[in-house]
């Protein structure tokens, strides 16, 4: 079994790139891999607490909690979050916040990465 780091830099609300990332994380974890998820840029939306569960918008809080309970680590880019007005108290409980060097270090310690940029 290996270590996988997923960096999610994109996703507009309304797109499913964040959904893709979390489903990939789940599938990897279910196969026994260690999984780390870094969100940066618009991806930090995932770390925002208090999102309403409309059927028109991705609502990933529950699956993130389940994955965190199984050991998946979630970290949001602190600067990207602050720039969006998401402060410490706005941060969804499964997320830690670090600076970008955390992502690079996790990449270094992983067997494989998938960096999702785009947009």
């Amino acid at each position: 079994m290996g270590k996988l780091t997923i960096g999610v830099f994109s996703s507009l609300v309304g797109g499913t790139t964040l959904d893709f990332s979390i489903r990939l994380a789940k599938a990897a974890k279910d196969k026994g891999h260690d999984v780390y998820v870094w969100t940066s840029g618009n991806g930090t939306m995932l770390s925002k607490t208090g999102q309403r569960a409309f059927k028109d918008y991705s609502y990933l809080a529950k699956i993130c909690e389940e994955l965190a309970a199984k050991g998946v680590e979630f970290v949001a880019c602190e600067a990207c979050a602050e720039a969006r007005g998401y402060h410490k108290e706005d941060t969804f409980s499964v997320f830690k916040r670090h600076s970008m060097d955390w992502y690079l270090a996790k990449c270094c310690q992983s067997d494989k990465i998938l960096h999702i940029g785009g947009e």
Binding site: G7, F9, S10, S40, G41, N42, A79, C80, S99, M100, D101, W102, Y103, L104, A105, K106, C107, C108, Q109, I113, H115, G117, G118, E119
Partner: protein
């Protein structure tokens, strides 16, 4: 599994539409401080490569501060040069857009020794093969 990790940051899209090209620079620069999370013997060695419309990120004289009060990606690439990161730009893609070498960002005013290297795509292909990880922006 201590290792020196080579990462290639491949910037394919123009500046400003999305913040992702900028995040290529800021993340690559974070290699300087990653040691607080790394074990002994581990190191991250980033290279930046601009291809396609990504070459627009390193055009000089970007007046984004004047007009929008914002740092431009020219500023970011200057900082990357200042901390001695390798910055490649695809020769064919510059030529296709009519951008001459004297129109490229220059870090020397900030005291950078490094300059942007204009290289054929074949060199960037070699980097893609030699690097451990590729991050596309």
């Amino acid at each position: 599994m201590a290792r020196k990790l080579k990462q290639l940051y491949l910037v394919q899209r123009p500046p400003i539409k999305s913040e992702n090209p900028k995040l290529a620079y800021t993340h690559a620069m974070a290699s300087q401080t990653a040691e607080i999370y790394l074990e002994d013997g581990e190191e991250v060695i980033p290279t930046l490569a601009m291809v396609g419309d990504g070459v627009y990120n390193v055009v000089n004289n970007q007046q984004l501060m004047k007009h929008y009060g914002l740092n431009s990606n020219e500023n970011h690439v200057q900082m990357a040069l200042l901390i001695d990161l390798k910055v490649l730009v695809c020769k064919e893609d510059l030529e296709a857009r009519g951008i001459s070498a004297d129109r490229l960002a220059d870090g020397s005013a900030l005291g950078a020794d490094m300059t942007i290297e204009v290289v054929p795509f074949s060199e960037i292909q070699k980097e893609m093969e030699a690097t451990d990880q590729i991050l596309c922006f």
